[in-house]
Symmetry: C2
Subunit: 329 residues, 2 copies
Amino acid sequence: MLRIPYQELFDNLLRVLLKLGFEPERARRCAQLFAETTRDGVYSHGLNRFPRFIAQVQSGIINIDAQPELVAASGALERWDGRLGPGPLNAYQSMERAMALSREHGMGCVARANTTHWMRGGSYGWQAAEAGFIAICWTNTMPNLPPWGASDSRIGNNPLVIAVPRSGGHIVLDMAMSQFSYGALASYRMRGEPLPVEGGFNREGLLTRDPAAIEASNRPLPIGYWKGSGLALMLDMIATLLSGGRATYQIPPDPERESHLSQVFIALDSSSLASADQVAEQIITHFQTSQRSPEQVRYPGQQVLRIRSENLAKGIPVEPSIWNKVKAI
Amino acid sequence: MLRIPYQELFDNLLRVLLKLGFEPERARRCAQLFAETTRDGVYSHGLNRFPRFIAQVQSGIINIDAQPELVAASGALERWDGRLGPGPLNAYQSMERAMALSREHGMGCVARANTTHWMRGGSYGWQAAEAGFIAICWTNTMPNLPPWGASDSRIGNNPLVIAVPRSGGHIVLDMAMSQFSYGALASYRMRGEPLPVEGGFNREGLLTRDPAAIEASNRPLPIGYWKGSGLALMLDMIATLLSGGRATYQIPPDPERESHLSQVFIALDSSSLASADQVAEQIITHFQTSQRSPEQVRYPGQQVLRIRSENLAKGIPVEPSIWNKVKAI
C-alpha cells in the first residue's frame, strides 16, 4: 500500500475529470467528493471506484453535462430529475437544495429520479452536518439482496444516511441494508477470515460466517433478517413514489449498468434548535461511557474522523495498480 | 385462549376509560387504538398492556386530561409538548397534525416532547396510510439495549414505523431496534424454543440463541449488530433535538415509570403523486413473487391484514386472566 498526500490525489482526479470534458467547477466538486471519500477511509467508494466511474462516463451511462431539472414543487417538497448526470454532483446539489428548502419551510425534501451512483452516501450527510443541518437521505440500488424468506435478489441494499451536526465531531450514520457488502465479503475471503457474525446463507440455505459460501449462493443477509428486508423495501418504495423514478426492480442488476436510481434527501436546520450542540454532546458522552465489552463503543462517524486525520498526516493509502491507472490517463 | 368479538372488547375498554374519568371522545379514541392493536394481533401492546396503562393513569404517570401544546412552529415543522397526556392520544394527534401540515407545505413534521408510551407504533402508520399519506415516525424509549461493543443498556430499542398507502393493503413497517423484544424472549423461553437466529449475548459475552441466557445477561442484540446500534442512537438524537425533550439516557429504566418520551412524526401526501397506487402495487408484486425459501416472502403489514380478518371473523383472542381483570374494573 502506497500513501500519497491529499492534494496529489485531488489534483490527479481533477486532471482526469477535466480531460474527460467535465466543466471546471463540476470537475472540482466531483474530484473533491472522490478525494474526501478516500481520505476518510471509504476506499471502496473513493479512488477504488473511480475507474468504474470513468468507464461509465465513457460508455455513456453517466452524462457529464446533464444538469438536474426541477419537475414539481409543493412547498417543502420538490421532485427533481437527475437526467443521468454524475451521481455525486446530483446528490450534492440535492442536499444543497433540501437545505435551502429547510431554511424557507422549516424542513426540506428533494426527491430525485434518474440519477447515477452517488458513491459514498455518507458524503451528503457530512455535507449537511458541516452546514449545521440534520439530514436523512437514502438511495435505492439495483436488486442485490434477497428479501427475508427468498433466495433471489429482489431488493436493494439501499444505503441510508443520517447525520446530526456536533461541534465535537459530527455524528454520521452511513449504512446499507445488507449486513456485509459484496466488497466486504471479498475482503474477508481474501484475508482467509470468517465473518465476525452470520452474513448470509450457503447454497444449502443455512446461515453461515463463510464469506465464500455467501458469494457462491448470492444470498447475503439483510441487517436484522426480516427487519432489514422490510426496511429496504420501504426505502425503495418511498424513493420511487416521491421521485416518480424507477424502483429497484426496474434497475438492471449489473454494477456496470446500474443507473436511473431514485433518491430522497431530507434536511432540517438545527441552528434554530435551542442548545442543539449541547444536547448532542451529552447524548454522545453518555453513549461513549458505556461499560465496554471487548470492542470499543464508537458513535457513527467517530472512526471516520480518526482515519481522516491519520490519512491527512501520513498520506492517503492507495492501491498502486489503481493509482497508476489514474495517473496514466 | 378465549376469543371475544371486537365490539365487546372495545365496549369494555371504553367503559373502563370512562370510569377512570377520560373525557368521552378521548376515551373512545383510546379504546379504539387499544382494541385495533389487539384485533391486529399485536397482543403485547393491546389488551395485554392495558393493565399497565391503567396503573400509570392511577399512579399519575399519565395525565388523562392533558392536552398537547404547540411550543414552536417553523413552516412544515412544529414542536409540541405532550404534557404527559396518554401516549396513544398524543401520537394520534401528532400524526393528524403532521398530515395537516403536509397538505399545506408538501410535507409535515411534528416533533413531540414529554409524551408517554404510544403502545403499538404501527397504529400511527396505519392511521396515515388510511388517510392516503406516506408516513415515517419513531419514538425513543428508556435505555433497554446495550450499544454494540457495550454490556450495559444505554440506547433505546426506539421503534421506527414507515407506512405507504396501497389500495390492495397498506405497507406498514413497525420495527424496534432490538432483534427480539424482552416480551419475545419470554415467549420463546416459555415455549421451550431456541430463537430462530442469534438474539443477544449470554453472561460469558458469547452470541446465543438461548432466550433465557439473554434475559439473564440483559444483553439483547441490536438488529444488524453495529448497524442497529448506530440507527437507534440517531433516532434518539433526532427525536430529542427536534422535540426539545428528553433523550433515552434521561428516561428512567423502569417500564412502570417510562415517561417523558420524545417522538417524531413525518407525513407526505401521496395523493398528489402520479399513479402512486400502481407504483406501490408493482413493487409489492415483484417483491412477493421472489423465489421462495422455506418461509414465505411477506411485505410489512401483510400478516396484520390476515390476522385482522381472522380475528374479526372468529373473535379476538384474549388472555382470560387479563380479560377478567379488565371486566372486573
